[in-house]
């Protein structure tokens, strides 16, 4: 199948299937376990981590609070340096712009560096429809593309595949896309990396057009930054004649100096390295070095709607490091595909429903795809309080409220599917505010304790399918207190 996120089932349904996938669970457990331990060591090396993290968050907040100012400044700087800036309000417009730019070069092939923004817009499909073949050059993206699969992790899109699956994909599919896999390819990661090197080299040397994203765009100088490991980024950013970078508007940072913060936070949080192997920085075009033509496509696609929510906008601080995925116990069990978007894991659970709006059962289910354990917040290098945003979005789902959709403020109604729950919560709220009623309930429960089954029928089965119910005590704490110490507390509500 060819990967698409359309029509994804809601998170609990998708996760029900993926949690049963023993191989997926094993792959994810091993991979995230490895990176968690490494990240802890990489972060512990910097005794000022907390201050760096606070500075990173503050720079992002400053940028977001004055995003119009910085976007205009970025446009001026990039233009001054010889680049051309385009603005795309949504995915379709971004794809239209990029397709037009590629067609104008006369080329029908592009090489691509891993870019979350173009995954979000579904650029490859749009290019294909225009007769342009896009080659993904990041190793994991290549695995995903050859396998007709979807990415399941921000940093390591093929994290759901283990080495022998990757070998099988290379053996069976590389020939369809160019140079076939070498004879006798083994499943050692070094051999697989070598196969990718050979397969992609001729594409790099031939390519006239490249498409990239960017990790940062410096407003003050017009500098773009791509942080990578393999060198495929450098290949794409320097060998072709034309470079088109599609960048979300939240990727702007105010000053050159700000990079000193993010270039410390990002590598240690994402690949758990002191520094990633390659970081490329370019400002417009340079005579005799690199692409002669540079286009920057600034992408909105729901970001301004997210910005309009004063709590939800903090998700726009995200620097796509994926530390939150790697520490998330829900992600580890459910896998990335269950999140139905290029942004899986905790950050996806807050970004996707905001970028797309609470448009379908999938987006409505994502804010609930968390135990609120807080591991993501703790790991986030720009201190995004993901649990707080999750709870905030849950409120929008169950109670409705003001949201912004494609630039227009509107009020959404409570989600239909939560009607029964709303009634239960209303009743619970009333009972909790009426301790006498609560006590009557407790006593009823205690009197009937011999009758309670270990397993519940109906909707209660979601609890008791996997867990025994506790015994109901014969006497609540309240009743015990009254019986043994009655009168020492204040009297309200006791009678």
């Amino acid at each position: 199948m060819t990967g698409t996120y359309l029509g994804m089932p809601s998170f609990p349904r998708a996760a029900e299937t993926s949690t049963r996938d023993v191989r997926l669970r094993a792959n994810l457990r091993r991979a995230t376990g490895t990176i968690r331990a490494k990240r802890d060591r990489a972060v512990a090396e910097l005794d000022d981590w907390a201050r760096l993290r606070a500075a990173g968050a503050a720079v992002k907040d400053r940028t977001l609070r004055h995003l119009d100012h910085y976007l205009v400044q970025l446009e001026e700087s990039v233009t001054r340096a010889g680049g051309t800036v385009h603005w795309a309000a949504d995915a379709a417009e971004a794809n239209r712009i990029v397709t037009g730019l590629v067609l104008a070069t006369g080329e029908r092939e592009v090489v691509k560096v891993k870019s979350m923004a173009t995954q979000e817009t579904g650029l490859n499909g749009a290019l294909a429809a225009a007769g342009i073949r896009a080659y993904e050059t990041d190793l994991a993206e290549l695995i995903v593309q050859l396998g007709g699969d979807l990415p399941s992790h921000i940093l390591v899109p093929a994290i759901h595949r283990n080495r022998s699956e990757i070998r099988d994909i290379f053996r069976s599919r590389m020939a369809d896309w160019g140079l076939p896999a070498p004879e006798g390819l083994t499943d050692s990661p070094a051999d697989l990396a070598e196969a990718a090197r050979l397969h992609l080299r001729e594409k790099f040397l031939r390519a006239k057009v490249a498409v990239s994203g960017a990790n940062f765009a410096v407003a003050e100088t017009g500098t773009l930054v791509v942080v990578e490991s393999e060198g495929n980024g450098r290949m794409c950013l320097t060998l072709p004649e034309t470079l088109i970078s599609v960048v979300g508007i939240e990727k702007v940072v105010p000053t050159w100096q700000d990079l000193e913060i993010f270039l410390q936070l990002l590598p240690r949080s994402s690949t758990a390295e002191r520094m990633n192997p390659y970081t490329s920085m370019w400002t417009g075009t340079t005579d005799g070095d690199g692409p002669r033509t540079f286009h920057l496509v600034l992408l909105d696609n729901g970001r301004t709607d997210t910005l309009a929510d004063t709590i939800g906008r903090r998700a726009l601080r995200c620097i796509r490091c994926s530390a939150c995925l790697n520490v998330c116990p829900v992600y580890e069990r459910a896998g990335g595909h269950a999140y139905g978007s290029p942004y899986p894991g905790p950050i996806g659970a807050v970004l996707t429903p905001q970028l797309r709006g609470l448009a379908s059962p999938l987006e409505e289910s994502l804010p609930f795809a968390s135990t609120l354990c807080g591991a993501c917040f703790e790991a986030c290098p720009v201190a995004i309080d993901i649990p707080e945003i999750l709870v905030h979005l849950r409120e929008r789902v169950v109670e409705g409220g003001p949201v912004t959709v494609r630039g227009t403020r509107t009020v959404i109604k409570p989600a239909k599917r939560h009607g029964t729950e709303r009634a239960v919560m209303r009743a619970a709220s009333w009972a909790f505010d009426h301790p006498r009623a609560l006590r009557r309930g407790q006593r009823l429960l205690a009197r009937t304790r011999g009758l309670h089954p270990r397993r519940l029928p109906g909707p209660g089965r979601t609890w008791s399918d996997s867990r025994d119910l506790p015994d109901i005590p014969p006497e609540s704490f309240r009743d015990w207190w009254d019986r043994t110490r009655g009168g020492t507390g204040r009297a309200g509500g006791t009678s």
Binding site: N27, R65, R197
Partner: protein
């Protein structure tokens, strides 16, 4: 829909989204405390160079040390050991560095094709600076470094770092010294991937072997 109207639309949406931000607030009014460390730990310059060597080696770069007069002999030996017959060099590489190397030199120029570069065995360059805490060398396309692709396509890169004036402690110190007007490439070890089971493998598309020569004294006049 014209690009200009989308520009207007997006900026309009941004401004409406930020209604909660007081109109009088300037960007600088939102505080950013830059109280993080300018470098991590107190060290002598020699210890900083030692840390650079250690961190380079930790990410599988091969590290060598020499003094300025010993540089040509060392470079010659490294190229011989590699069996390098064709070596790419930037136009501004001091002539003396490879005077004794028994190799054909290809000098960087816009006329050099990527396929030609793909046929060379090694590339030898200087650098803009090196960062000890992260084990990074930074190239800024200066005359002794050449264009960005020069150090990318060949499989073997030898990078010369002057320990006297090119080694900084930290990322903040590096950022303050570098100019964003130049194309920059930060290199920390040979190319690598962790895309298969998050296990690091050195060597994908960039040079699979990175050798860093830490040289004392000033080799620019060689």
């Amino acid at each position: 829909m014209s690009g200009d109207s989308s520009r207007k639309r997006i900026l309009g949406r941004v401004r409406r989204a930020l209604r909660d931000v007081p109109a009088s607030e300037q960007p600088a009014d939102h505080p950013v405390a830059r109280d993080y460390a300018e470098k991590h730990g107190e060290r002598s310059h020699a210890a900083t160079v030692g840390l650079l060597a250690e961190n380079l080696a930790d990410y599988r770069a091969l590290v060598h040390r020499t003094n300025a007069p010993g540089l040509p002999a060392l470079l010659t030996r490294l190229l011989l050991e590699r069996g390098a017959r064709r070596v790419a060099v930037p136009a501004g590489l001091p002539a003396g560095w490879l005077a004794a190397a028994p190799a054909e030199l290809l000098v960087d120029s816009p006329a050099l094709t990527s396929h030609e570069l793909d046929s060379v065995d090694s590339v030898v360059t200087g650098c803009a600076l090196a960062i000890a805490e992260t084990g990074t060398v930074v190239l800024d396309a200066g005359p002794d470094q050449g264009s960005r692709r020069l150090t990318l396509v060949p499989d073997h890169h030898i990078c010369v770092v002057r320990t006297g004036d090119q080694v900084v402690d930290s990322v903040p110190q590096a950022v303050r010294r570098l100019s964003p007007e130049r194309p920059l490439t930060w290199i920390s070890g040979p190319s690598a991937t962790s895309d298969i089971e998050l296990e690091r493998v050195e060597g994908v598309h960039g040079p699979r072997t990175l050798e860093v020569v830490l040289v004392t004294g000033d080799p620019r006049e060689l």
